[in-house]
Amino acid sequence: MIEVINLHKSFKTKQSSLEILKGLSFKVEKGQIIAITGHSGSGKSTLLGLLSGLDKPSSGQVLYNQKDIFSMPFKEQNIFRAQNVSLIFQNYYLIPHLTAVENVMLPLQILKLKNAEKEARFLLDEVGLSHRLDHYPGELSGGECQRVAIARGLVTKPLVLLADEPTGSLDSETGEKVMSLYFQLVRKHNLTSVIVTHNEELAAKCDHELKLHQGIIHS
């Protein structure tokens, strides 16, 4: 499903070049949930940025079903990501002036897919927010916001769901509830998921854990 081959990423500083990822290679099979853990600054988020195609590697490849996303033209890569890869952030990043249902509808509207409202309502129902459809993000709790973000991530029926510290802004109890829902939905829709987390308990619930240390994976 996802194949990472010899992935390097370095940043230029004033004095020298700082290598964050030092030739990573790993595979994630369809339906697998992988956790990427590591200390701060180990390169976890950089890796997730590369997996989403939003960042470019210094060298190496990321293949989705044998297709290298970095070899695609920008526009094609953008459409590919929108259709196949969804992202969930620690800070949810919902559009503040759209209601819960409008936030979930938005990816479908952008991709000009039909039945946007029906699909959005269905997914919000699945995440247990059918009573909060017309509420704005400012009127929802952190856990509810993250559930809207999960529904938004699922609505386009992507191949892969990437999550960056999804429980980072939530208390442990809410975080546990949200992630339990997350696992349930990912399994139900047979999705592949990569979760970047500090949370060892969360990582333990995943199918596989990749430990990132000084830019190298220790599985």
């Binding site: 988020s45 997730l48 940025g49 989403s52 939003l54 960042d55 526009k75 953008n78 459409i79 990501r81 929108a82 259709q83 992202l87 952030f89 620690q90 800070n91 990043y93 559009i95 503040p96 002036h97 759209l98 409008e102 938005l106 990816p107 509207q109 952008i110 991709l111 704005y136 400012g138 938004r152 386009t156 960056d164």
Partner: protein, 837 residues
Amino acid sequence: MKFILSYSLKKFWRKKIQILTTSFFLCLGFWGWLLSESTQTSIKQRLENNARKILSADLTIDVRREFTNEELILFKQEVQDKGVISESYEFFAMMTTSTESRLVQVRVIDDLYPFYGTIKLEQGQSIQQLKGPEIWAYSEFKDLMNLKINEKVKLGSAELNVSDFITEDQTQTFRLASLAPRIFIHIDNLKKTELIQFGSTFSSIQLVKLNPDIDVIQLSDQLKKVLKDPGIDVTTYKSLPDDLSGPTQRLSDFLGLTSLVSLLFCSLSLFYLLQIWSSEQQKEKAALAVFGMPTYHIQLIEFIQSILIAILSTALSTLLVIISTPVVESSIREWFATDFTFVVTFKEVSIILVCQFILLGVLTFPYERSNSPLSRLIKDEMISNQKGIKFFLPLLLLIWPFAIFASRSWKNGSFFFLAILSICSALILIGWLLLKILKAYHWKNWMMSYATKSLSRQTTASWAFIVTVGVCSALLNLMPQIQSSLQSMMSLDQNKSTPSIFMFDIQQEQYENVLSFLKDRKIEPQATSPLIRGRILKINNLPFEREEKTGTFVTREEENEAQIKNRSINLTYRNKFQSGDKIVEGETFSLTYDKSQKYPYISIEKSYAERLELSIDDVLTFDVQGIEVQGQIKNIREVRWSRFEPNFFILFQDGILNEAPQTHLAALPALDSKQKSELMKSISQKFANVSLIDVERLIRDIVQNLNRVSGALKLMTSLSFITGLLALIFLLSSESLRRAQEVHLLKILGSQINQILKTRIAEVFLLSSISLIIGLGASYIISYFIVDQIFKVGYSPVFSTAVQITGIVLFIGLFIVKVMTTSSYKKNSFVFLKKEE
């Protein structure tokens, strides 16, 4: 305290870019203000410093006739123990040489003149040496009339010898357009000239040099009490000479208004800049609070910061003013055709410092009260998430005192404030309606739907945009409208019907002779008018008395009214209205008096009627050479003075003033220069007392001087225009930065750049259009009132500026949105959003 100070200084040093940018905008706004203030102060100071020289005395009294014996006795009783008195006259007359003739300003002086100021002569003589049948002429006459030392000239009936040329005359004040250069003659020669006759236009002047211990203001007040005739002007060196009038005075008012508008624009720019930085600032303050720093310590840090920024920007403003001094000095020298030294006083700099500090406080105050420290750390709030328009209120309220201060007038300042308030109210009201409509309408296209939801649900941000763009476009268009009207007021309708020569002081007994003299030369006067000198005694039987305004805060309107009330007035009668007359109020009437009428009818010029608050059917009682004459106002007419047709403020029906002592005025048609020169010479030889004005030369001089003033208007308008555009750029940039997160989210969700651009362009276009329509519409209404009520000139709107402003605002808006959105889109969205966390 040591920690607070060290923290503040460290912060000040480490936030160099932000501090310098803030200081730059404060500096830019206050530079315009300081420049305007300093220019006005410099002009005032220069005039005050030179007032003694210009007056040639500590105090003068003057009247446009001979003083009566009774008046002279009263005057001398008040003054005799307090100083020395000198006598003088001033009038215009024709001076003729063997080949040329020209209108000259004649100053008749005695042995004591001048008490102050020097008159430098080419041969190095002293003015007190002027004795015998001789004149001293301005050196310009050497070129103008090819005049030479010891040449004989004729002035009225006297033949005088040119004994020296004047190279510098400190007793001559600067004027935008002086009718003619000066000559000096001794008072002993005045009688020989026979120029002062009944009906002649001249000023009698009594000059006083006071003993050092005498209070000149007190004496002036006393003289005003004893000399009842309002036609007698009492002037002291402490009262500003009357030369700051007309275009110069309006330019001064315009300068104040422009600097205020520029300051407002800079404040708006700063307002949006502070918003861009507010998130970081809030978090820092919140962190300090969470770590236990008492609120008053945090406020103290803010206070020290504001003081440091205010000091820095005041220093920069002052430096900028000092650097620009040579340019300003040379421009003002050119505009006013005078020596000018630019002065920046400590008082002005201190006021600017305080104002900057207040402005900074007002701009940052709303954020101080927004959230609790902890919520500031968690939330990343900007204006869009705030409710209400409270963010604009402190700035809006601050405009009021600033406007009063800048315009030095409660009336004008309050008018300006109310105008801004009205524009804001109209913009908020119509903006509110627009947002309601947008909210109710359901778009099928997701991009339009997204754009309208974004506008109608982030109401404060939308209102902020509408108000800022609306106010900016209104003010951007306001200045050109005022400028156009002022320039139009100053432009002259030169055409074939413009007269070439004015003849005045034609005595009644000379009138027929002058006409036949012209007829012999096949010249038909364009117009002739009788001229009767009078003074208003009563309005509706209530006495019309001398009006003196005292105190430092006097509006322009009050000054004008006081001046007009204290002057005698030229009356005329005519049997038909002229082409330049436009009746704007009341009825047209036969200009031939019918004895069955209760009162003779009179027509009043519009601005004169407004200044004296006269209205239709008011009965005026005039003193015409000691006889009371009454007239009832039947209409008010507008006169196009720039046509240079002889016209008068007060026009009587034919048949009332015909027997009154009078002189005549004639306007001669266009003539070629040779014909004109010969005619002027022969008229002054045949009718020595008749004064001639070369209208063409006068128009040329006025146009030249007004063009200089137009340059000043353009420069000031450009300054406010540039600062206005800067405000717009910062508003749009701040708005685009605020929306950057949305751009990245939409990108992650699969939006193409074109789709995002379409939504942003739709938003900016919609808001800008509504703001432009309201703002530009309001600018025409407000400029009409400012031009009509404050500047008191005719309104000449220009519509091309509105089209240009619409184009510029839309172009800038769409350009910034495109550039900033595209730039955001190209960035790494993942890294951006991670940084935001």
